[in-house]
């Protein structure tokens, strides 16, 4: 039996596989598990579908002016639910490897842990930003069709609409990275999901009851609140930071979690 092609006589160092090898390997890994297409499909259906549905149901009331909420808050309504999928996908990219022992194969193939992490982050963020933007666009097109019929539709060129489309992509990417960073720290899918979803959906709303300025600022600064303002032309919550200011805060939070995760990842035994 011949196993290979005489490479074992090789004494010289094999050529480095090129700067994009790790990135391409992570890309292959990302798209060859079923959780990826499922999460993205769920994001699209929830995000675009719920936006369209809610706009269809509320268009008439909105047009009468008896809702008391800005129309701009409705054209990206479904993103609140679509973000769950970004969190799931982000967490799984990391915890999926720890749960299965895959992390050892990954680090044996690419011992430079920083490169592995950077490649994972790039694949995740690029995919989520495209998927998030497409989801928001589809929701806007679907929902706005009903709003237009009532004469209250928004044009893509209206204030904040295009920004919210791209912003939905950016917010999804940031949220996925946040979940991946938490995943690096806890190395467990359920724990990572509980922490991130708990922060975004539960803690993010609970802090509003803190007294006075504490409650106001905690609400402004929680990641789900700070980051999501960019994903809607006009928010339901007037207390939130301005979209880009909030997003800057959110990015800082994501970077902080990822940085701590990266340090731990770099030191820990696989």
């Amino acid at each position: 039996m011949t196993v290979g092609t005489h490479a074992w006589t090789r004494t010289e160092t094999p050529a480095a596989p090129g700067p994009t090898a790790t990135l391409r390997a992570e890309w292959v890994k990302f798209w060859t598990v079923r959780s990826t297409p499922w999460s993205l499909a769920a994001m699209f259906v929830l995000g675009a579908g719920l936006t369209t549905l809610v706009c269809a149901l509320s268009a008439e009331a909105l047009a009468r002016g008896d809702v008391g909420e800005p129309v701009g808050a409705f054209v990206t309504w479904g993103i609140v639910f679509a973000q769950v999928c970004a969190v799931v996908l982000g967490a799984l990219v990391v915890t999926g490897e720890y749960g299965t022992g895959m992390i050892r194969a990954t680090l044996a193939a690419t011992p430079r842990r920083g490169a592995v992490l950077a490649a994972k982050a790039a694949v995740l963020a690029s995919t989520l930003s495209v998927a998030g933007t497409l989801t928001a666009l589809a929701g806007y097109l679907g929902g706005n069709w009903f709003l237009d019929r009532e004469g209250i539709g928004l044009a893509l060129t209206d204030d904040g609409v295009l920004r919210s489309m791209l912003g939905s992509g950016l917010y999804m990417a940031g949220l996925g990275l946040f979940a991946a960073g938490v995943g690096l720290l806890v190395r467990h899918t359920a724990a990572a999901l509980a922490i991130v979803l708990g922060l975004v959906f539960v803690v993010g709303n609970l802090v509003m009851v803190l007294p006075g300025a504490w409650g106001e600022w905690a609400t402004k600064l929680m990641p789900g609140n700070a980051g999501s303002a960019i994903a809607t032309p006009e928010s339901f919550n007037p207390l939130l930071l301005d979209p880009w200011v909030g997003f800057a805060v959110f990015v800082a939070e994501v970077v902080a979690v990822l940085a701590v995760g990266a340090v731990v990842f770099g030191r820990r035994d696989a």
């Binding site: 039996m1 011949t2 196993v3 090789r10 050529a15 090898a21 299965t100 022992g101 050892r104 044996a108």
Partner: protein, 301 residues
């Protein structure tokens, strides 16, 4: 070549690997033998740069594994357990590994063929039997056509045909001039596969020698004697300076071969019912050697 120098790994209070030094030479199969919990897998993870040594060093072909620009082309490894995502197909698993180290795509199909998984290459590995998983792990180890091959417990979960296949493969790889390092807790398997043995227990090297030497040094033998004149035979042999132990109706004689024992008894006119050379198995030798270093011994029954 793999060189470990005073390699040590501690987890809190517990020392898993305690300053071990050894060399794994090319062109032969080196067995890495020890009971469960002896530190084999920890050592192998340190070889692959997955775990960081507490002190000491281990190098592959003169440098740390992590410093290789394309490690899969220098060291192929089958890791303990299954370092696989159950939802990915066998081919996709090998494909990302190939991409990560700049290994040509065609090599994926070559190794699938080599381990006999071509027909199921498109199936998700979560459905694989333990044996198929081991074969896929071996395919991954051979993907980069590496000069050094590290296999951690490769025969776990394999049927007899699979065990023979791994044994032949390991020997073929060594015959091709590669460095082959195979861990196992099965002495009998290593006796058939390995040319050289590094035996560890409780994180220390207990023996580092050729398999033949190990057998000669550790596999004790005795002559079993049965006689209706049990006591007279025992007295006679003891008088000749032999080590005689009585076990029920038999005598176990050490210090002389069966021919010598038979002649002594015959010349004295005593009767013999049985005269047998009993070699204690390698497994026994291994058990004796590592008896003090077994981490989780069962209570005696």
């Amino acid at each position: 070549m793999i060189t470990a120098h005073r390699l040590t790994k501690t987890y809190g209070e517990r020392t898993a690997v305690d300053g071990i030094s050894f060399t794994v030479e090319p062109g032969r199969v080196t067995g890495f033998l020890g009971p469960n919990g002896a530190g084999k897998s920890t050592t192998m993870r340190m070889v692959l740069g997955l775990d960081r040594p507490t002190s000491g060093s281990v190098t592959v072909n003169g440098r740390r594994y992590a410093d290789s620009p394309a490690p899969l082309r220098e060291v192929g490894a089958l890791l303990e357990a299954r370092a696989l995502h159950p939802g990915r197909s066998a081919r996709d698993h090998l494909r990302w590994l190939a991409v990560s180290n700049g290994i040509p795509r065609a090599r994926v199909d070559e190794v699938l063929e080599l381990v006999g998984l071509t027909a199921v290459a498109g199936q998700r590995v979560g459905r694989f039997s333990l044996g198929m998983g081991q074969r896929l792990g071996i395919a991954a180890a051979l993907l980069g056509d590496p000069p050094v091959v590290v296999l951690d417990e490769p025969v776990n979960g394999l049927d007899p045909e699979g065990i023979r296949w791994v044994r032949t493969l390991a020997r073929d790889l060594a015959a091709e001039g590669r460095t082959v390092f195979v861990s196992s807790h099965l002495m009998s398997e290593m006796a058939l596969t390995a040319d050289h043995l590094v035996v560890i227990g409780r994180g220390r090297v207990l023996a580092d020698c050729s398999t033949a030497e190990f057998v000669a040094d550790h596999a004790a033998s005795h002559v079993r004697v049965r006689s209706p004149q049990h006591d007279e035979v025992a007295t006679l042999l003891r008088r000749e300076g032999l080590d005689v132990a009585a076990h029920g109706g038999e005598l176990r004689v050490r210090g002389l071969d069966p021919a010598g024992v038979g002649e002594l008894v015959g010349r004295s006119g005593l009767l013999l019912h049985e005269l047998t050379l009993v070699r204690s198995s390698l497994e026994d030798a291994f058990m004796t050697l590592t008896a003090d270093s077994v981490e989780y011994a069962g209570a005696p029954r």
